[in-house]
């Protein structure tokens, strides 16, 4: 659906710019001719012909075939009218000039057509390259997904087979261990499905944030609550002033954003490391910061982390154990951008990663509750 949109907008753009192409071509030819005309005392008609051909070639390099053909015709007529004797009419005196004019016209046309063809071929080559790129991306996705789905599925199938077929041979401890493996694998699978669904929502272009007033502090604590198990061995700090203003956002989307960031921090930082969520309000925006005391990101990779399928290449903990299809951070970026916000990653000077989400703040200036002045004194101020 998005593809169709691109194609239609592309052709629409082309139509508009084609009008400009005609205009620019005509103006350029007239300008060059006028300059040549001014200097016609010093340069002969043949030189003018070359200058016009050069102009035509330049135009042909970037414009469509039709404006170029028009330019060819126009420049031939101008050359004939103003520069070939007898001047100021379309008659051509001697045979040599007749040959020159017809050759000029042929060269101009050949020039136009050949340049156009070359550009056509270039375009096809580019399209092929794009297609190949999409295919590569698609294959990466398939490989990554089949790995991400099959690994937990293999665990579940294997463990359940064991539990069903050999119940008597397994010790109580072993059964418990298998069951806990099944549980972990299922939750991982569920996480992948969630990310995949979010990714397809983003790709379809149908994300329309349903914004309402929410409390960032409450959001942060709810994320910590949801990730209790994963954060059990980390130190978590929430530093959000109680009087931070309410902000308008889509709770579901923003919940995913923070969930993914905190979840990543929990996965990629060692035990006992600090994970900190804070928020502040510089002018007309709200900044939510998620930072950790982990290894941070290699400087060279910082630009790529929000790309689809990005995986942390040299995680000291060993990313193969952690898994993930590399969708989490691209979802973060997509959802934040759906709020017209930005997300930035930097390494902290003292080590560890720092994600800064910056959201534009809509003014909280709607009428307060009629009879009550309490709201203002209870922590709702504008940013």
């Amino acid at each position: 659906m998005q593809g169709a949109y691109f194609i239609s907008s592309f052709t629409a753009n082309n139509k508009i710019s084609q009008q400009y192409q005609y205009l620019i071509s005509i103006l350029l030819v007239c300008l060059v001719s006028a300059i040549c005309f001014l200097f016609s005392v010093y340069i002969g008609a043949q030189v003018v012909a070359f200058i016009l051909l050069l102009t035509l070639s330049l135009i042909a390099m970037s414009f469509d075939i039709l404006p170029v053909l028009l330019t060819a015709l126009l420049s031939a007529l101008i050359w004939d009218f103003f520069f070939i004797g007898p001047r100021y009419n379309f008659r051509v005196g001697n045979t040599e000039d007749k040959i020159l004019l017809s050759m000029y016209f042929v060269i101009a046309l050949v020039n136009a057509v050949l340049t156009f063809k070359i550009r056509q071929i270039e375009k096809i080559a580019r399209r092929k390259e794009e297609k190949a790129q999409t295919l590569r991306l698609y294959n990466t996705l398939l490989n990554s997904l089949s790995h991400e789905f099959r690994t937990p599925l293999a665990t579940i199938i294997g463990a359940t087979d064991n539990l069903l077929q050999e119940p008597s041979r397994l010790s109580a401890g072993d059964s418990k261990r298998l069951l806990s493996e099944i549980s972990t694998a299922s939750l991982r699978l569920n996480r992948q499905v969630e990310n995949l669904l979010n990714m397809s929502r983003l790709e379809s272009g149908f994300i329309q944030p349903k914004k309402d007033w929410y409390d960032i502090q409450e959001l942060a604590f709810s994320i910590i609550h949801q990730l209790e198990e994963q954060l059990a061995r980390h130190r978590v700090e929430i530093d959000i002033r109680e009087d931070i203003p309410l902000v308008r956002l889509d709770y579901g989307l923003m919940e995913q954003v923070l969930y993914n960031l905190v979840y990543n921090a929990a996965l990629y930082t060692p035990e006992r490391a600090l994970i900190r969520i804070s928020a502040q309000c510089p002018q007309a925006s709200l900044e939510i910061i998620v930072e950790d005391e982990g290894p941070g990101f290699p400087e060279g990779e910082i630009g790529k982390v929000f790309d689809k399928f990005y995986r942390f290449t040299n995680s000291p903990i060993g990313s193969s154990r952690i898994g993930g299809a590399g969708l989490g951070l691209s979802i973060v970026k997509g959802f934040v951008e759906a709020h017209n916000g930005t997300v930035e990653l930097m390494n902290r000077l003292s080590g560890g990663a720092r994600f800064v989400i910056s959201l534009p703040v809509e003014n909280f200036s709607k009428g307060m509750e009629p009879q009550s002045g309490q709201i203002r004194t209870n922590g709702v101020i504008t940013c």
Binding site: G252, I375, N378
Partner: protein, 226 residues
């Protein structure tokens, strides 16, 4: 206690049957809306678990039909966390919802909470929950036997929660009941008053135990210790 499970997916019915029976509930099952409604009339269960995606009828329609005569708790199951869907179901009279896949602990907690809310009863002048005592006749609230100083709006909100303990109340419902029809999009009022109430009744406002946020949907006042 009898629970009716209406879900077209056999594995889910099986799972719920085992989980619920092992926790002491009697379980009846139905795979379609039609069958579900018949079973509901036949057994009059204490609670119904209804899946929204049924093959023969839209779950919302089934819920509406059910609510014409069935006044005990209904918990909705949904496959995707679609807030609009959940809000519609709650507005149509569902007590609570769960998104598949759900944790067993969560399911049992919601069932207990919903069942307890029916025990609270509608006509009691005094609601006693979670160490709180809401006296609807005298319009006073006590926490651990100490009188709480509440504004009129704070009291109305808490009383509304008390009367609907264990049930998820949508933002729109709360705004309409407390402030009136023209305020249903003024969510910021609600946020402010919830924050005020929490300060007065919660031990730790960051980990509320009484007024639970149902993200993007509304709030639930916990009935008893969950």
């Amino acid at each position: 206690m009898g629970i009716l499970v209406i879900d077209d997916e056999a594995p889910i019915r099986k799972l719920l049957e085992i989980t619920l029976q092992s926790n002491g509930y009697a379980v009846a099952q139905a795979a379609t809306a039609k069958e579900g409604l018949q079973q509901a009339v036949h057994h009059t269960p204490d609670l119904i678990i209804l899946d929204l995606g049924l093959p023969d009828e839209n779950g919302h329609t089934t819920l509406k039909k059910m609510r014409e005569w069935y006044d005990r708790p209904v918990i909705i199951l949904s496959v995707q966390h679609s807030e609009a869907d959940i809000i519609t179901a709650l507005d149509n009279g569902a007590n609570d919802y769960l998104v598949k896949p759900f944790r067993t602990g969560e399911l049992l907690a919601r069932i207990r909470s919903a069942l307890r809310s029916t025990v609270v009863g509608d006509n009691e002048p005094v609601i006693r929950l979670n160490g709180l005592e809401i006296d609807l006749a005298a319009r006073i609230v006590k926490k651990d036997n100490e009188l709480l100083r509440l504004t009129a709006t704070q009291y109305s909100l808490l009383a509304l929660f008390g009367k609907n303990a264990g049930k998820v109340l949508t933002h729109q419902y709360l705004l309409r009941e407390i402030w009136g029809d023209s305020y249903t999009d003024q969510l910021q009022y609600l946020r402010v008053f919830i924050a005020q109430l929490r300060k007065k009744i919660e031990k730790d406002i960051n980990y509320p135990e009484h007024i639970i946020t149902e993200s993007g949907v509304g709030y639930r006042f916990v009935a008893g210790e969950s």
